[in-house]
Symmetry: C2
Subunit: 217 residues, 2 copies
């Protein structure tokens, strides 16, 4: 059975690696599972065929035989539960690694999404300049807590896990803002993730789709 | 071994059931596990003892013997994996139920959090009135997709699951906004959740802590 995931036909970021298929590609590379990619146009995202697979009309999705999943966190967890390499064997350590996946997606990413919204969709609004410091402060607040917990460890809880994969993927969205550069501890953490061979293979594969194309509008 | 969770000593909403300990209480009631509650003051949330358990200084947390977890989604998943009642037995149905947990927390909740931020923390800003329709539109967009997928089913994928528990908990945050009332389909879905005996027991227990106290500032 071949695993098939979906990705943007044209990534909105022009292939910088921020589209969420990167998270799934990275997970599949970490566990050594081959996969096929089906590219989806922006128009097709909103068509019934894709909506049957992803009710919110986004990418990525994951298909393996009769099973169809959406939502990056669920896909990465599914992969991590079925193949060695992304979750510890010990049950308690495993629960803690999964905790960091949820922390990435529900505590750290929401203010980062809000920053992205402010920069992309509200940049031309009259309040854009005045409001931005508030939005940035909320992100910094989360980063400070995370950096404090990470301290001088390489990864969030023992060995590299799906929790680190998700947290680093979320933090990468901040690169363009410069906010990561203000925290050498978190910058080094993200760099450790990007240096992993599995990340690099995933990024190359992602880039190959997007490199020759202009960024979509 | 007794499960111990944390909750606000004084809930910011005065006990309306929106604090996230409700999600964990509800899960524990669904699976019939007794639990103890340790109340934490706002000051104690930011102290080292609590931060050791929850790096972002929030509630709820979950302790069971040597295991300490934070992050509501992770705690509910942990409970659901260990006790019958919140996840189907079939592996594929189980993966789909977990998908809805992540969809609740990473796709539906972020715009709802943004709405809460706009209403609570930016209400006195000069842009508050002009910006609000944009924020509301983003919530409505997600609700429309969710309502379309739910269609006339009782629950999101077969029997009630941890995915419904999480989605309904997220949607409940919208009640005060009136946005739920605009969608009879989702309103009825949320009402089905609230009518569950386990939800009602959890809510009564949550209310008992908060009823006699004024809402915190």
């Amino acid at each position: 059975m071949t695993i098939t995931i979906t990705a943007f036909e044209r990534s909105p970021d022009g292939g910088k690696g921020l589209a969420r298929d990167m998270r799934v590609r990275w997970a599949l590379e970490e566990v050594g599972q081959p996969y096929a990619v089906r590219l989806v146009s922006f128009a097709a995202l909103k068509q019934p065929a894709h909506l049957a697979l992803h009710p919110f009309g986004q990418i990525p999705t994951y298909e393996d035989g009769d099973l169809g999943l959406f939502e990056t966190g669920a896909i990465v967890l599914h992969i991590a539960e079925r193949h060695a390499g992304l979750l510890p064997d010990d049950a308690e350590a495993r629960a803690r690694a999964i905790t960091w996946m949820f922390a990435a997606l529900n505590t750290v990413e929401p203010p980062i999404l809000e920053l992205a919204t402010a920069r992309i969709h509200e940049a031309d609004k009259p309040w854009a300049t005045q409001r931005m410091p508030l939005v940035i402060d909320r992100v910094r607040h989360r980063l400070a807590s995370l950096s404090h917990r990470l301290d001088d460890a390489d990864w969030l809880d023992g060995a590299f896990s799906a929790g680190d994969l998700m947290m680093i993927s979320v933090l990468l969205r901040l690169r363009a803002s410069g906010l990561l550069d203000d925290d050498p501890n978190l910058s080094a953490y993200v760099a450790r993730g990007e240096a992993r061979p599995a990340y690099r293979r995933a990024f190359e594969a992602h880039l190959a789709v997007n490199a020759a194309r202009p960024a979509a509008g």
